[in-house]
């Protein structure tokens, strides 16, 4: 058979279209005869697909849940088991609870309470910032739930860090100010030099620069270098004031040591709690104690009485008369003419000569009494 021409083919096609256009289409028959999975999505436009189901989608909704536009997919209620990869939300996420297995990163996290069983690690200071009318005072760390609230916060007037609790640091650690240790477990730092301490422990030693007062009784003046016991105005290096009597011990005239009383008060040198040498305020001296048994006074040397230049050849040099055994012995060029004398008193002749006497002796007491010469002086 010969091949039809172009014109013949177009004529036959037109006749066929006319036949088809005049015929009634049986849609059911058409769909039944349409091969399965031969219809392209391009054959669908508009309308509503109900009871839609596919391998990945099961549409059981009775009303619209998802609306897709060029800008976004709008979902009325979204129930997601897993969101793979990153999720970017340009709005609020409101959740009854949220668990994040990995990193939760937020520019702003607003919470009323944080509960955590994990460590909170810090890489920078925890900063409490004053903003607007909000002050920093009272901000800091609070511990609640066990008794009163425990605080480590900033307080004002003056600005300070306030703690409601003891501060305890580890053994061998110290408190310092300006990196200078001021207090350790065992010592105050050397820079701490001033205090108002009123009780001290048992000191191992004591060094004082300056005045000293003890119990309003012992007074040491650094200016005068004098120590007073019972007086704050000592008149010697050491003064003891008791019962209004000042006993002094020190030096005199820059060359002499001395002990005694400052005012016109007698002074005793004592042994066995008994006065042994008493010096009266007027200078009279008593060796021994009249209220005690007689003592023995020994002079291991020479004794001069009212003599400015004692005779070195004698042991006892008396300027005037002497009395012993109740009798006076004195010198004169004759027997007394006045004065009370008793029998036995002797006057030694200051001008003995041959033919005169060594002296006179009182034979009858009186004024001047009766006297007799004795010791006639004769040439040998």
């Amino acid at each position: 058979m010969s091949k039809p021409t172009i014109d013949q083919a177009l004529e036959q096609l037109g006749a066929a279209i006319k036949v088809q256009a005049a015929a009634t289409i049986d849609v059911t028959h058409f769909l039944q005869n349409l091969p399965k999975r031969s219809l392209s999505g391009d054959h669908v436009s508009g309308g509503k697909i109900v009871n839609f189901s596919s391998a990945g989608i099961d549409d059981k909704a009775s009303k619209t849940q998802i609306t897709l536009t060029d800008d976004a997919a709008s979902i009325t209620n979204l129930k997601v088991e897993t969101v793979k990869d990153n999720l970017k939300v340009e709005g609020k996420v409101i959740a009854d609870s949220m668990e994040v297995a990995g990193l939760l990163k937020a520019n702003v996290l607003e919470v009323s309470e944080i509960r955590a069983d994990v460590k909170l690690e810090k890489y920078s200071p925890l900063e409490f910032k004053s903003t607007g009318e909000e002050s920093i005072y009272g901000k800091g760390l609070l511990w609640t739930g066990t008794g009163i609230t425990k605080q480590l916060v900033i307080a004002a007037n003056p600005d300070r860090l306030f703690s409601t609790e003891h501060l305890d640091i580890a053994k061998d650690k110290v408190f310092s100010i300006g990196n200078v240790s001021v207090l350790s477990e065992k010592e105050l730092g050397p820079s701490v030099i001033k205090s108002n301490i009123r009780e001290l422990g048992r000191l191992r030693g004591l060094t004082v620069d300056g005045d000293v007062q003890i119990n309003q009784y012992m007074f040491y003046s650094a200016e005068s270098d004098r120590l007073g016991l019972g007086t704050d105005q000592p008149h010697a290096a050491l003064s003891v004031a008791e019962d209004a009597i000042e006993v002094v011990l020190g030096t005199r005239e820059s060359t002499r040591g001395m002990v005694g009383t400052y005012a016109s008060i007698p002074f005793d040198i004592v042994t066995d709690s008994r006065p042994r040498i008493s010096v009266e305020s007027n200078g009279n001296i008593k060796l021994g104690n009249i209220a005690q048994a007689p003592i023995q006074v020994s002079i291991h040397g020479k004794l001069a009485i009212r003599v400015n230049n004692p005779d070195p050849e004698v042991d006892l040099h008396v300027n005037g008369p002497i009395r012993y055994h109740g009798h006076i012995h004195q010198y004169a060029d004759t027997h007394p003419s006045t004065g009370e004398f008793i029998k036995g008193d002797v006057v030694w002749n200051t001008n003995p000569q041959v033919g005169s006497y060594a002296g006179w002796i009182c034979t009858i007491s009186g004024n001047p009494g009766r006297w007799a010469a004795f010791g006639a002086l004769v040439n040998i």
Binding site: R202, T207, I285
Partner: protein
Amino acid sequence: MSNVEQKITAVTDALKILLDEQFQEVSIANIPHIEFKVSGNGNLVGKGLIWTGAGATKQFITTTNPDRIYSSETIDLAKDKNISINNVPVISERELGPSVTKSNLKELGRLRGLIVDGDLQINQYMFYDSATDRLGLGTDTPNAMFSILENGVEVMLGTTEHSRGAVGTYASNDFDIVTDNTARISVSGGGDIELGNRNSGPSKVTVNGKLGINVSQPDTRVDLHVAGAVKFNDKLHLSGTEPPSGGSHTVGDIVWNSAPSTNSFIGWVCVQAGAPGQWLPFGQIQPR
């Protein structure tokens, strides 16, 4: 940045915001502590708490050299609270802890008492040496239990020979016993003793007992026992077996015969001054 660090950064940032912004009241429950952690080559310097926005930044942070926590502010404890080290209280409002035993304090308050075990120094003037149990005023090397060194003179008060009390000078300085600010008994550095004061009126010296002069064994029968010669009214009385053969004598001097016998004389008297002068016997002893 590790996963953990990222977590922490997130929480830290969140906390910072919380505290910076409108959330002023925040509870942190079940957080055992806040850890400032070093990672990599980082350090802890500057980590801690800071308060900003009101004057100078207030800090309670870690620092180094040596490692320590630094506070830019005074630390104020509540009443009755204290500062302790290793749970040992070291200071409270009113007292230092008993473990604090060492200080360099130079000022104290008015002490209620003072007990010192050990040496004592006051103003480089009063020295107590606990090793010798001696107290010195003006000297740190006292030569007695108590010594005063003043004007180069050391006056001492103490004991001698373990049995005697003593007061006086240590070196060859004179020593006075004083009343009414006037020397009454003066002991020279060489040992000479002066009773009374020649610059004052004559003192009365009373011996309530017996007086021995230059006598090792005083005669208990007498009140005055003189070993050698005596002189009174400027006249010499001495003892000998004959008149002096030498020495200067004045008229009236007497030599008592130390070997008297019948028909001899009880003594001799100088009738003419000289050396030895002229002497005459007196008081011939008659046989009984």
